[in-house]
Symmetry: C2
Subunit: 253 residues, 2 copies
């Protein structure tokens, strides 16, 4: 990572500044510290004064660096309390696309059950997206999520296999309703960010049966790629739900 360690520091700073600004370099340093776990999720960073002194930088510069990481969603600042490392994604983020009856506040998280779990060879697209070598295995999950006993979302999940090996043999019935916190606990993997692509389709007979809908019923399809702290894609997920329960709001400027 360190391209030029800059042996001949002319005047003041001994810090290797690649091509970026000082605060940009500082932000990168902190980003790495978070990614490597030196700053654990949920914990507080040292105060601004300490950090600025430690890195030989003015307060304002240090604050610019932190502001970058806040904008990226890695940090959270609280006036009078401190600066904290954000935990990864919660996992209930799929619900933002759907409005299921009574799902709004009371039953925050839908129940989850794993229908199938298999290990198989990664397809070309999967290997490409997950940056796996050819011939690598992936863990495939089929998962049904229900609200108040009503099945509402059907998911197909692909996970790269050396990384998620701990999930290949554990009892799926004992799994949490939320996967991402479990990824963190069991596999030490933090999902920090995801990209969802929404499109429209019709349910196949098998899909419809699981969702208790008619074959050919319209469905919304959300294809997700989820990334860890290093920006590595570590999950591919396809979620299907009743198109008539779909609702999403976006702002344009």
């Amino acid at each position: 990572m360190n391209i030029s360690t800059n042996f001949l520091t002319p005047t003041v700073s001994d810090q290797p500044i690649p091509g970026q600004s000082r605060y940009g370099w500082l932000a990168a340093t902190f980003r790495a510290a978070i990614a490597q776990g030196d700053w654990a999720a949920g914990t507080a960073l040292p105060s601004e004064a300490v950090l600025s002194k430690k890195h030989g930088v003015a307060l304002g510069t240090l604050r610019q660096a932190l502001a970058l990481l806040v904008a990226e969603g890695l940090l959270e600042r609280q006036h009078g309390r401190g600066t904290f490392v954000k935990s990864g994604l919660g996992g209930a983020s799929m619900l933002r696309f759907f409005r299921f009856r009574q799902s709004d506040e009371r039953m925050g998280t839908p129940q989850s059950s794993i229908l199938t779990r298999t290990v198989q060879l990664a397809s070309a697209e999967e290997a490409d997206a997950l940056h796996l070598p050819t011939g690598a295995n992936v863990l495939k999950l089929q998962r049904l999520r229900s609200v108040q006993g009503q099945p509402c979302l059907l998911e197909h999940i692909t996970l790269p296999l050396p990384a998620f090996a701990a999930l290949a043999n554990s009892d799926t019935a004992a799994w949490d309703d939320l996967l991402y916190p479990m990824f963190q606990r069991v596999c030490g993997i933090t999902i920090q960010r995801a990209v969802d692509n929404v499109s429209f389709g019709l349910l196949t007979a098998e899909q419809a049966q699981l969702l208790k809908l008619e074959t050919g019923h319209p469905c919304a399809q959300v294809q997700r790629r989820a990334f860890d702290l290093q920006g590595q894609c570590l999950e591919l997920r396809t979620t299907l739900g009743d198109a008539f329960a779909f609702e999403y709001t976006a702002e344009v400027r």
Copy 2:
């Protein structure tokens, strides 16, 4: 608006600071200047040095104020050139929800034709959303947008009537393909921001006929509320398009 004009300014500032920070108040001042047209869209603001001196504020403080407006999408800064007032929304923003063949780059804007134009009483919901008095009139438009001669989007647009009177009698055949720039030119109304709500439904017979699809064909429905610089809602729009052409990407952190 000015709650306390603060007659007894104790030490330094003569500026009416409501409860906000200095830069927050500055930003509000600039926001108002833009909204009232003192800063015309597309023009450059005075330099940082001039503005900071004029408002008796340090450079850093002035920059914080500008940063707020940049984040709001009202301003745009260009290193070495200046700070500019952004023009309103372009108008082609509906296409971000759909992928029509060959619409990607070559034919940037779909052609537009106004099918019907009527003046009628605002419904209760419309009057509420547009902040109209009861009994006020609205302009209703039905509009078909086509790519390469193929009809693809059907729109139903509601506009409050004193404001858009200039559109009530002009020749619709001569209208632009993009409405928002025309709103600005003809009515002096700048659309700065919009909120889109997406859901799925089925086409009625009339809708299907216009879009050259089957009755009952699945459609994506985008309900938009568009706002001017003051945050006033000045347009209600419902857009229908083939659900199988729908595609949208969102990021979650």
